[in-house]
């Protein structure tokens, strides 16, 4: 497959692995922020190709994992209501709420449907004018313009029965929160290539400057990730801290302006709670008031929701890179992909599931 196979080429992987070994003289901890990259690292066993001195820390960049428990419970309540068709990306189906997940409310008779794109959710709304169709709009900056377009399109087509339950998180404020934590041991970052494809990388310059930490925008294939690690390590060894772009075949400095305009037509930046981490200021998107008609949280009354995270789940520490999944007592025992206790065991991009499948 063009543009995939060459970035999985074993010769290139080996070249990079040798180069990294050659330049590494000290211990460095590098965080890949994005769950997609964590998944690739585990799948291709990239840690084996790195010198022992390089420690990869797996970051919180899995939107499925960080969607707050309250939001999942809200989704479950709305999905169970009369006359509702609840649509969602497949990865959200098995994320555990306080008691159930979407799959189990579906088994109990709720009309829950998986869609590939928010545009497919719109089609469901057009085909079912007598039902209320709700789309679970989760995601990082990568997914938010697509979710925004579904709302813009619903308005343009005059659809009265479409709304979204929005839960959007943003990467730069999360990096800021991680680096502001005094106990953080992160020396450098791989920034998430697909987030930057949309947003560009201007937002990362102030972070590099403020925390004197190298950030390299990186892709998702083995060659991309190793090249990203090579560039971060080289900076650290040479005592530099800069912003570099490994993923220049799709990422530009300013990103995709049209997609950004779509986002800011529908959403505005707000404080956001991250599951397992807590509230991070200005780290999410909420639906603007003039689109309130399309905001499922405004349309459906779900009452008061009180939540408790399972006590033995240490997802918060895992998501902040402070502990590895294996350090959790429940890992692979009470908690496994069939019966996840916490979200990082559900999504294939969650660190716990990635370790379970590939370690």
């Amino acid at each position: 497959m063009k543009h995939l196979n060459e970035y999985r080429d074993s010769t290139l992987v080996k070249n990079l692995s040798n180069k990294i070994a050659e330049i590494t003289t000290r211990n460095w901890s590098i965080m890949e922020i994005c769950g997609g990259q964590t998944h690739s690292i585990m799948k291709y066993n990239l840690e084996e190709l790195l010198p022992d001195k390089i420690n990869l820390i797996h970051g919180p960049g899995c939107p499925v994992c960080v969607t707050p428990l309250e939001k999942i419970d809200k989704a479950l309540k709305i999905a169970s209501m009369e006359n509702v068709i609840f649509t969602t990306f497949g990865d959200m189906m098995r994320v555990p709420g306080s008691r159930d997940d979407l799959l189990s409310v579906k088994a109990d008779g709720a009309d829950v449907r998986m869609v590939y794109s928010p545009l497919d959710a719109l089609k469901v709304a057009e085909a079912n004018p007598d039902k209320k169709v709700v789309f679970f709009a989760v995601g990082f900056e990568t997914t938010s313009p697509a979710n925004a377009v579904s709302v813009i399109e619903a308005k343009r087509r005059g659809l009265q029965n479409y709304s979204i339950l929005a839960s959007h998180v943003l990467v730069p404020p999360a990096i800021e929160a991680l680096l502001s934590d005094q106990t953080s041991e992160i020396d450098g970052f791989l920034a998430a290539g697909h987030v930057c494809t949309v947003m560009g990388y201007n937002e990362y310059y102030p972070l590099v400057e403020k925390f004197k930490t190298p950030i390299v925008v990186s892709g998702f294939e083995p060659v991309d990730i190793l090249q990203g690690i090579y560039l971060v390590t080289k900076q650290l060894e040479e005592n530099r801290c800069e912003l570099e772009n490994q993923y220049s075949r799709v990422v530009t400095k300013d990103g995709n302006i049209i997609a950004q305009n779509m986002i800011f037509e529908v959403f505005e930046i707000s404080d956001m709670k991250w599951r397992g981490i807590g509230e991070i200021p200005q780290s999410g998107f909420r639906i603007k008031d003039n689109y309130a008609k399309f905001d499922a949280e405004k349309i459906f009354d779900v009452g008061d929701i009180k939540v408790n995270e399972p006590e033995n789940c240490i997802a918060g520490e895992v998501l902040q890179g402070k502990k590895k999944p294996m350090e959790c007592a429940a890992f692979g025992k009470e908690c496994n992909p069939e019966h996840p206790l916490g979200a990082p065991m559900v999504s294939t991009e969650g660190a716990c599931a990635a370790y379970f499948h590939y370690k």
Binding site: H3, T11, P145, R249
Partner: protein
Amino acid sequence: MCLAIPGKIISINDNDPDLIMAKVSFAGVTKDICLQWIDDPKVGEYVLAHVGFALNKIDEEDANETIKLLREMGDIN
């Protein structure tokens, strides 16, 4: 979740100027992808697609150049 994959534009449907759609082939599997955010898309070009939307074109020259440099990296040693 943030998975985005490269695909080749097979045909473009611009009947609706507010929602330009395309058939995009991902290693033989064809999907309907929205090209609304892509500047001047052309049949035969590669895009990076995510949840039914093309996020950006893939810069062929840049991609080839990176691969070339990485190959040379091995030759030098």
